[in-house]
Amino acid sequence: MHAYWVAHLRILIVLLLVWFAVSFGAGILWADWLDQFRFGGFKLGFWFAQQGSIYAFILLIFAYVAIMNRHDRRHDVHEEEEGS
């Protein structure tokens, strides 16, 4: 149980670092620097702030779902296929 939880926390930390990087990082802190690059007509920092971060959030949650389901099975704490 302890091993499950430690690995679980490690997954969360990595995913949250990505979450921070795409929004607070690319959209706010480094946005001015990123603006020198162009992407489909957008300044890149602006694109992250108004589009890219949101797409990244979606991918993050679906990645989390896949990783956690595998993690649960590996430690044999996954739920039955039909209801609970």
């Binding site: 969360l12 949250l16 607070f24 603006d35 007509g41 300044k43 602006f46 979606i58 989390y64 649960d72």
Partner: protein, 548 residues
């Protein structure tokens, strides 16, 4: 058929649909009333969460706000979507495993304290009531603008509709009407957006197309004396704090959290958060495109306009008072400028979404669709909030504290009664909006961020935190954030500007600091108090694994 007739027809049809769903899904037990029987599919729950979450403000006002704020509008886009990552990763699956019906019930059991539960009930009621008043007002405004009905009458019609499906069906009725409402609102939002994208660029997809107008819009903005659209006005620290407060607040809003109690399994709660964000993102990535297109179009139409040759949509919306002009210098040219002395136009931000179909020259039925979409957004959010209010009263206050011996039938009756009373109170606030509502709705996030989010988070991720720490944290977080907001809105409004703010953080963003205050106080008190008993620690252990 004219615009008015189409609007009545489409809005009427959507209402018939909602009521039909409500009658089909009446709740027979408290289990159905509180969590829709716990058998909602992740996909359906994702749609319902999206409708629950996206309010009248998201639908009507957000694109307009971004349109006038330019880059700074990103705080809303990132803030109101990024919170779902926190919700999915840090709260929803564990709370689903825990299996409580309400957030205060979780707080009460995890911290083994009726006091903690009572504080949580007060937070939930306060946040939900301020929020729901704004929704009812929104319903009234949509009715008055599109259907020529008085705002008061509009509020009453909205109340009747919500009354039917919230009181009758509880969470069960609300869930399936929200699914329908999501479909209505997203269709209504994207159709005009696709048309306006085709009109302004060659792209069918607004999200891609608006890249093509960015340089044009920057040029137009600076030419008229405004800041470039892609440059911000706010200080970085404030942008950072507002975004964080909105994210953390979103994850801490009780009406969003309870939606994840309705799915069968932990893994469904995770997946469902992904679907919810996907469905929300359809609107949230379209909004900045609409904002940029409409802003460009607006500037090009009115920047130096001939009063004799204004397009029809300008005349139509001048009638509503959302748009006004005055040729101050009498030279026969209407100017739109950043400089207040030279500017001759007054523009209400809401026009960006509301006038979109006419600007794009779309058929009359699209206008009716936009009205139905705005109503769907307002009604679905109002219903979700009313459910939180009624369950807080019936499950936490009545069953949990006043009469623990009450049977299911009696509790259900109290739940229905509380829902009905809440509808009446919300309607009252909608008709006679107290001055503080408009301001506090924006601050509800800060309050949720500094009360619920830390207490739930620590309840899951720490086995050491117990009653005293949690209560002290919630109270200090609320007092800090509430006090800061009250100080700048009532006691010292003159210094409500970047120079007067603490560390340059606006009242909108102070929830971030409030959450930190909450966590700090909780952890500090925790070091001086005993850890929770073994049974509570076992409870936390069970919450952390999907099975067992």
């Amino acid at each position: 058929m004219g615009i008015q007739a189409w609007t009545f027809l489409i809005v009427g049809l959507s209402f018939v649909l909602y009521i039909w769903i409500a009658i089909r899904s009446r709740a027979g037990s408290t289990h159905e009333f509180y969590v829709a029987g716990g058998g909602v599919s992740p996909l359906a729950n994702g749609m319902a969460t999206a409708a629950d979450w996206m309010s009248a403000a998201s639908f009507i006002s957000m694109a307009g706000i971004i349109s006038f704020m330019g880059r700074d509008g990103s705080v809303y886009l990132m803030g109101w979507t990024g919170g779902y990552v926190l919700l999915a990763l840090l709260l929803a699956p564990y709370l689903r495993k825990f299996g409580a019906y309400t957030v205060p019930a979780f707080v009460g059991q995890r911290y083994a304290s009726q006091t903690a539960r009572l504080v949580a009930i007060c937070c939930a009621l306060f946040i939900s009531f301020t929020y729901v008043a704004g929704q009812m007002r929104g319903v009234g405004i949509v009715f008055s603008r599109f259907l020529g009905v008085d705002i008061e009458m509009g509020v009453v019609i909205g109340m009747v509709i919500v009354f039917i499906y919230a009181v009758l069906g509880g969470m069960k009725g609300i869930t399936y009407t929200q699914v329908a409402q999501y479909c209505v609102l997203i269709f209504a939002y994207t159709v005009p957006a696709v048309y306006i994208s085709l009109m302004m660029t060659d792209s069918l997809i607004p999200q891609v197309g608006f890249g093509g107008v960015m340089d044009r819009l920057d040029g137009l903005s600076t030419e008229l004396g405004f800041a470039a659209y892609t440059a911000g006005n706010k200080a970085m620290i404030d942008v950072f704090c507002i975004t964080a407060a909105l994210m953390v607040g979103t994850a801490g809003l009780p009406h969003v959290i309870v939606r994840f109690f309705t799915v069968p399994r932990v893994r469904d709660a995770r997946l469902s958060a992904g679907y919810a964000l996907l469905f929300i993102a359809v609107l949230y990535t379209t909004a900045p495109a609409v904002a940029a297109f409409a802003r460009t179009n607006l500037i090009e139409t009115i920047a130096d306009a001939d009063p004799e040759a204004l397009p029809d949509w300008v005349r139509n919306w001048e009638v509503t008072g959302l748009l006004a002009h005055e040729d101050k210098d009498g030279d026969g040219v209407l100017r739109y400028r950043a400089d207040a002395a030279a500017n001759e136009w007054t523009i209400d931000r809401d026009i960006i979404v509301l006038a979109n179909p006419e600007i794009a020259g779309l058929p009359d039925w699209v206008v009716g669709l936009v009205a139905a979409g705005a109503l769907a957004a307002a009604l679905s959010t109002a219903a979700g909030l009313l459910l939180v209010i009624s369950t807080s009263v019936s499950h936490d206050l009545y069953k949990g504290m006043i009469n623990p011996a009450a049977d299911d039938k009696r509790e259900l009756l109290v739940a229905r009664g509380a829902a009905a009373t809440a509808v009446l109170i919300a309607g009252h606030f909608g008709v006679y909006p107290p001055g503080f509502v408009a301001q506090t709705v924006a601050y509800a996030f800060g309050l949720a961020a500094s009360s619920f989010f830390p207490v739930i988070l620590l309840g899951i991720f720490s086995k050491r935190v117990h009653t005293a720490g949690a209560v002290a944290g919630m109270v200090s977080g609320l007092l800090f954030t509430g006090g800061y907001i009250l100080w700048f809105t009532y006691l010292d409004p003159a210094s409500n500007n970047p120079a007067g703010w603490w560390l340059g953080i606006s009242p909108e963003g102070i929830g971030t600091m409030g959450a930190l205050v909450n966590v700090t106080v909780t952890l500090a008190v925790t070091t001086f108090t005993a850890p929770p008993p073994a049974d509570v620690q076992a409870l936390v252990d069970r919450m952390r694994v999907p099975r067992g």
